[in-house]
Amino acid sequence: MTYKDYIKWHRMPTTWCPGCAIGTVFKQLTFVLADAAVPREDLVVISGIGCSGRAAGYFNVDSIHTTHGRAIPVAEGVKRANDKLKVIVFSGDGDLAGIGGNHLIHSSRRDVDVTVVCINNAIYGMTGGQMAPTTPEGAKTLTSPFGSAYQPVNIQGLITANRRHWYARGSAYQVLHLQKLLREAIEWKGFSFVEVMAFCIENFGRRLGFRNGYEMLFKLKQDYKIAFKPEGPLKENELGVMKNDGQAG
């Protein structure tokens, strides 16, 4: 098996804009699935609504494209119905932490054995560029034309509030590191969450003054540093893993 076996080639090209980060992350996950030799018939990929939500349909496995915010409960139902399935949720920050936020809190608390890959581009891209729960304070969007008045949601904090947890932050630039995170996430028994710092050039970046996707990718490189042994919670500019098997602390 190679990564190509996990992609529905007849669905290509994707709906994603040129310069988008989602495809990069999508491909890293297919690399990891091939490396881990996950049988296609054991794998189910589930998405919600939004640009990232289209990903489920591009995986060459049984997949589900749910309504907005409901990828996690559908995934929990699938996993509890058939424990043999490897269940991966691939969706966006607005879908998972905004409209689906309640499910994120509770499925992670119940520690159901699914892996969630969250593309965090800090914006509602598909609907034109509205403020997301992850939008940085002060950022101008269609629904925060004078700059967002709010702090972005702390997803790391939500997940690690559970005594037993597995949370990682990666980026669409540091792809080898991201592959390691994804591999560890799918092998973790229990709820695992990978927040992938990404970007949206068409419906966010251009309003912020970026000229193309490459500039946004380069910004990720500048902004984020890998913390191999983080002391305490990951700082805002750190990538890495926060985990607790529930035995310690």
Binding site: K8, H10, R11, R40, E41, D42, V44, I46, A56, G57, N60, V61, D62, S63, I64, H65, T66, T67, R70, P73, V74, A75, E76, G77, V78, K79, R80, A81, N82, K84, L85, N102, H103, I105, H106
Partner: protein, 338 residues
């Protein structure tokens, strides 16, 4: 063996008899006992007390796709929240049973008092056009039987089937002989997840590929799904007609209201739809034939009356019984005043 059980209990036992192995719900009066009873079976079935109504129906949907007969239960406020998942199950063609034990609304309303106010919501509560199968029993034995039939209809139609109860029926205790009730149980019809490459989506799609800008395909798709639903519903068209040859008035009632007006059969003909949607048009016409007046008695402001009138193309009168209180004497009086 005869035993004394109540409506909600019969629903839980019927679901188990039908082969349900996944149940997710959120507590709500007057439906909670279904949850309590199934929680006791946690070691036999997958049971989830979910964080909310929306989660529970989506869990049931996921579990059904993964191969288990699945159910969720609720009352009006939760039924409103579940409409999102009901629409998704229609779009994805997923078998599912959704139980709605009706109470007085809108909103939080009168939680402990029974109503039949969710009739139209049961058929049209989710946005867009779709064809729903809705069953409404009227006794504890029927709660058991029609829960099983709801699962059968869900498999046959590959759709979310709605089972309506009301707060009175849910808490009504009767002696029933469950083992003695012969009901066929339909096996699963949807191949479970893990087949390789199917894509289930809430978007309009053809063979898993979205077709979101193609009105022509939408019409073709809609016609296929509607025909499928109506064909499946034919096997689950349940009703009861008590014809009184001396009566010039036909009463139509369902669920608990039908129970209450049963003594009126000496003066009136009574038609009781059990499958309340799709509308039993042929049966309604046959029942109405030969009667000067048709009167729908229901615990709402005339929701089913409008549907019956559409089907019969003649004036249909109604006795709306509101506020969670129903009594035979009141209905008798209002019938005389019509």
């Amino acid at each position: 063996m005869k035993q004394l059980i109540f409506g909600n209990e019969a629903v839980a036992l019927g679901a188990l008899r039908a082969g349900m192995t996944f149940f997710a719900a959120y507590p709500i009066t007057p439906a909670s006992e279904i949850m309590h009873i199934l929680a006791e079976r946690e070691h036999e079935i997958a049971f989830v007390h979910a964080e909310d109504e929306i989660a529970s129906i989506h869990m049931a949907l996921g579990a059904s796709l993964a191969g288990r007969k699945s159910m969720t239960s609720t009352s009006g406020p939760g039924f409103s929240l579940k409409q999102e998942g009901i629409g998704l199950a229609h779009m994805m063609e997923v078998p599912l049973v959704v139980v709605d034990v009706q109470r007085v609304g809108p909103s939080t309303g009168m939680p402990t008092l029974a109503s039949q106010g969710d009739i139209i919501q049961a058929a049209h509560g989710s946005h867009g056009d779709y064809t729903a199968i809705v069953l409404y029993p009227a006794s504890v034995a029927e709660c058991y039987r029609y829960t099983i039939e709801a699962f059968n209809a869900a498999e046959k139609s590959r759709s979310p089937v709605i089972l309506l109860l009301d707060g009175l029926l849910a808490h009504l205790s009767e002696t029933v002989d469950l083992e003695g009730l012969a009901v066929d149980v339909m096996p699963r019809t949807l191949p479970p997840l893990g087949q390789g490459e199917r894509h289930f989506t809430g978007l309009l799609a053809k063979d898993g590929t979205p077709r979101t800008k193609n009105p022509g395909y939408y019409r073709e798709w809609f016609a296929r799904v509607k025909a499928k639903m109506l064909e499946a519903a034919k096997s689950y068209s349940f009703s009861e007609l008590i014809r009184n040859e001396r009566a010039d008035t036909l009463l139509i009632a369902y669920g608990i209201a039908a129970r209450v007006i049963r003594p009126l059969r000496d003066e009136y003909s009574i038609f009781r739809p059990i499958t309340i949607f799709p509308l039993l048009e042929d049966e309604l016409r046959a029942a109405a034939a030969g009667h000067k007046r048709v009167v729908v008695v229901e615990m709402n402001d005339g929701q089913y009356r409008g549907e019956v009138q559409k089907a019969l193309l003649r004036e249909v009168l109604g006795i709306p019984v509101l506020g969670g209180a129903i009594s035979l004497s009141e209905i008798r009086e209002r019938l005389h005043d019509l």
